[in-house]
Amino acid sequence: GQQVQQSPASLVLQEGENAELQCNFSSTATRLQWFYQRPGGSLVSLLSNPSGTKHTGRLTSTTVTKERRGSLHISSSQITDSGTYLCAIGSSGGSNAKLTFGKGTKLSVKS
């Protein structure tokens, strides 16, 4: 089945620095969706793009489907960006609606 690897596992930044989060997957993907989660909080959908580049605010998601990788760029990080970022993949074939999640990147932004 689909395997999703996220790196780094954790990241500490100074406020204002940029972050680059990576997501690699093992099988063909029909989409890649990024989520944000605070400790004890619910999942918030950030961006969903099956291929190419998509922007919203300070976030940029890039998916290179043929190379089975994606990335999330966070520019000018803020303390409130702290939390866990999860990458989820929708696979082709079978039930392509379900998502397979990585273990996440825990981001800490300090002043």
Binding site: S42, L43, G94, N96, L99, T100
Partner: protein, 114 residues
Amino acid sequence: NAGVIQTPRHKVTGKGQEATLWCEPISGHSAVFWYRQTIVQGLEFLTYFRNQAPIDDSGMPKERFSAQMPNQSHSTLKIQSTQPQDSAVYLCASSFGSGQDTQYFGPGTRLLVL
């Protein structure tokens, strides 16, 4: 739009008891998903419905777990004879259709089995 609603938010059960978790999807969404989140395993897919019909239950444990969607406004996940290893956050999500549509998650039900 209230988002996906899950009740209860927290549930504590004794080993061997039954637990029923409820999910109300976003109005107009035809697909409902159940996932489970633990520290060790992360987020895992359990099952999903489209237009109330069960489509994929490949992630459901073979015993003690069952899910239903009796109408378009709610789904239930039932765990019989709960065990300590069932302790987790159970998340429900809905999407407008299925396939490529964005999934929106509820706040989850935190289940603790003592």
